[in-house]
Symmetry: C2
Subunit: 451 residues, 2 copies
């Protein structure tokens, strides 16, 4: 019987994260202070981040050792399997060989814990007592709650109020791990109180929840802030995904032709793809890298490479990234994790350099593909991850039409067992694709800050 799951031993959990900043020929333009519009200094970040993470944010060391305490947490679910999707191949009648990296086995149900664990660890070591963060659909809030519990920190999660009401299961999951979940806007912060004063029935937004969490961290000496994507150190931690995948492909005797991931803020995609970018920069054989985003929020395929704020209120540093403008409000697609107006600066630089190719998918095709994947391989993908599934299926169909036996590998960043209402919508024929009208795009881009 063919071994379909390529497994590594726990001793093969990577001993260091891969830092792409060491290899990029052109450094990313630095973040700018939102007030002065000058490059921010490490000490500007020290109010809300521990020094070890600030150092990682700026490091140009190629390999950053992973402390044993973090590898001991990683081994609760890592190394994750790389799986040959034989039944999907058969259903597609394709000569392509399809593999997926299964990050859904994590306690949080997604890749997010790969960075939540080290962020909790470094904060604990720095003497911090509590972490504050925001969450939309709840993936990141779950991961940080779990990580904080593992390292003995308190955790406060500002959850967008409409999600707090509509997604009680995610809230439950955070509470099982001891996380304090607060619907945002709340009366805990100035930003929250101001929003409530303006509209007592405000449904909240991710931008506002970020403002509340940052304010909470800045105003309490024992409290720091944690972000689940976009920043360099977050992408760094996620490279365990791609490093394991590379080792597993080698173990299977495979050379991937195409590697695919979904892309919102960019952390799962970058963590999966950057170890392959290393091969590209070195001039080695490497797969074609494809980042899949929703047509409803086409940051990489139609956005502008420019300085923009990370949040809606314009309080965060300005980042140099592909953006649709901070005021762009994407429609309510089910892949909540792919609704960010910008993207991680390191990923944007890799795209600008031509290492990575972005594409956009409408959610009807995405869910159709997700159901086929579930019915063949038995795993219901998260709506975000389903974007990668759809692209992998299309590439496999192209192989069938061309008679080419390519090797395709994609990242299944999370499962969808807490997102089943989205599948109800799809099965009821109620989904829309929301392609972004050009006029709306231009209007959003016109609001970009002048730097």
């Amino acid at each position: 019987m063919t071994q379909t799951k390529i497994l590594l031993s726990e001793a093969e959990i990577p001993e260091a994260w891969y830092n792409i900043q060491a290899d990029l020929p052109n450094p990313v333009p630095p973040p700018l202070h939102p007030g002065t519009r000058q490059p921010i200094a490490p000490e500007d970040l020290a109010l809300i981040f521990p020094m070890e993470l600030i150092k990682q944010e700026a490091s140009t060391e190629k390999w950053i050792p992973i402390p044993d305490e973090i590898r001991e947490i990683y081994r609760l679910w890592r190394p994750t399997p790389l799986v040959r999707a034989l039944r999907l191949e058969k259903a597609l009648d394709t000569p392509a060989r399809i593999y997926f990296k299964n990050e859904s086995y994590s306690p949080a149900g997604s890749h997010k814990l790969n960075t939540a664990a080290p962020q909790a660890y470094y904060n604990k070591r720095a003497g911090v007592k509590r972490l504050a963060t925001e969450t939309g659909a709840g993936q990141w809030g779950s991961a940080l709650s779990i990580a904080c519990r593992f390292f003995g920190l308190e955790c406060t999660v500002y959850m967008v109020k409409v999600s707090f009401q509509q997604k009680p299961y995610r809230r439950s999951l955070m509470q099982i791990f001891g996380g304090e979940v607060i619907p945002s806007p709340s009366d805990r912060t100035d930003s929250g109180r101001a929003a409530l004063a303006a509209n007592p029935d405000s449904p909240g937004s991710l931008g506002l929840a970020i403002s509340e969490a940052v304010e909470d961290a800045a105003k309490h000496a024992d409290t720091n802030y944690a972000l689940g994507s976009v920043l360099n150190h977050v992408l760094l931690h996620q490279t365990v995904i791609g490093l394991e995948t590379r080792a597993q492909l080698a173990k299977a005797g495979e050379q991937a032709d195409i590697a695919i991931g979904c892309c919102g803020g960019g952390s799962n995609f970058s963590g999966f793809a950057f170890p392959f970018v290393e091969q590209i920069i070195k001039g080695e054989a490497a797969p074609r890298l494809i980042a899949v985003e929703p047509t409803a929020c086409p940051t990489l395929t139609r956005g502008k490479l420019a300085y923009d704020f990370g949040d809606v209120a314009g309080l965060t540093p300005l980042l140099y990234m592909y953006t649709l403008g901070k005021d762009f409000m994407p429609p309510g697609i089910h892949a909540g994790g792919l609704r960010y107006h910008g993207d991680a600066p390191l990923l944007c630089q890799a795209i600008k350099n031509g290492y990575i190719h972005p594409v956009a998918y409408g959610q009807k095709r995405v869910f159709e593909s997700a159901v086929l994947f579930a019915q063949t391989e038995g795993i219901v993908p998260a709506p975000e991850s389903a974007h990668a599934v759809a692209c992998a299926i299309d590439e496999a169909i192209a192989c069938r039409e061309a008679g080419e036996g390519k090797t395709i590998v994609f990242c299944l960043s999370g499962h969808g067992y807490l997102d089943l209402a989205a599948y109800d919508n799809y099965l009821a024929g109620e989904l829309q694709d929301y392609p972004l009208p050009e006029a709306e795009l231009q209007q959003a881009l016109a609001g970009l800050p002048q730097v």
Copy 2:
């Protein structure tokens, strides 16, 4: 770094199921026909089961080969890991070594797919087009929907109406896999129509849903019925759990002192424990086997070993088993899968013979243990599986108090990510233990049929 996950290759998926009927010194008294009260003949079952399963039901062959087509489905998630719970051990400060068999990695989220897959396979081979079944909380209905999709069968699930309304996510999961989910009582069957005529707002019951599914199967020539527990062939299929566990313990160089599983109808427990019973019968070194049931439905610890019906209406064959009486209505504890009034006859015989020791737990202690397990090992257990967790923790605490370094292994039969509302109840302090009053027990037992 210690390897905490004991893994097997896919080639090590068992090649045969273990049939305890070959080894029991005293055969189980036969099922009786509900009308004649005489032993039922194989042909009595042929209306709703395929001949291969009927043969397995009565077989005394020790090893029943697992067809390749089923092993190819099993390998989507099997072999499941046997995991050393190092972080739980540390939290308990115990010298005990704790392992758990992680059946939650299955596409259905529990062990149920181990038997759903072969049941779908044998029905497909017999030319059946559709399977009908009942489901309460939805675990079994999910598993059978998935298995039917894998083998190209239609699937009709009669879901207890109150669960249909309260557990929309389980319904969604079945529908993603193409299952038709019908709230029971329905107007599809005589039994359903009669119930609706008596009470149009009937919330339904598992007993009634069984009646509807059996009637659907009996009245349609292309349709059979499938049951998720209790029957001999179901327990047989589940022995892959214990066979893998035995191989994994040997690989880890461990001799288990105690093996623990939760027990409702008995399929997960028996699948896990029977391969150890084989060792006991042979006189080999074997662990002490503990079956954990809820105090609210104490079938094994306080029930009577007698002939009783499997369903509430008294339409099924009479089985010789520990029972609380078919009219016993357990309170609404969250472990819906442990609310059955009887238990699998083969398991009852093994208990009667002294191979297995039953204990009962209240749900407050069960959920307290489940939260500790989640916070240390990162997996939220199903409320059913949490009964095994609680007993394992108590045994580990006893080891600490006695200064004994025993090896404890338990079966984590499923995850709780679709049961988070139960955890909300626990965290809100709203759970009750519902110990069964003696008078109520005696009243239920007084209704046992005279055979």
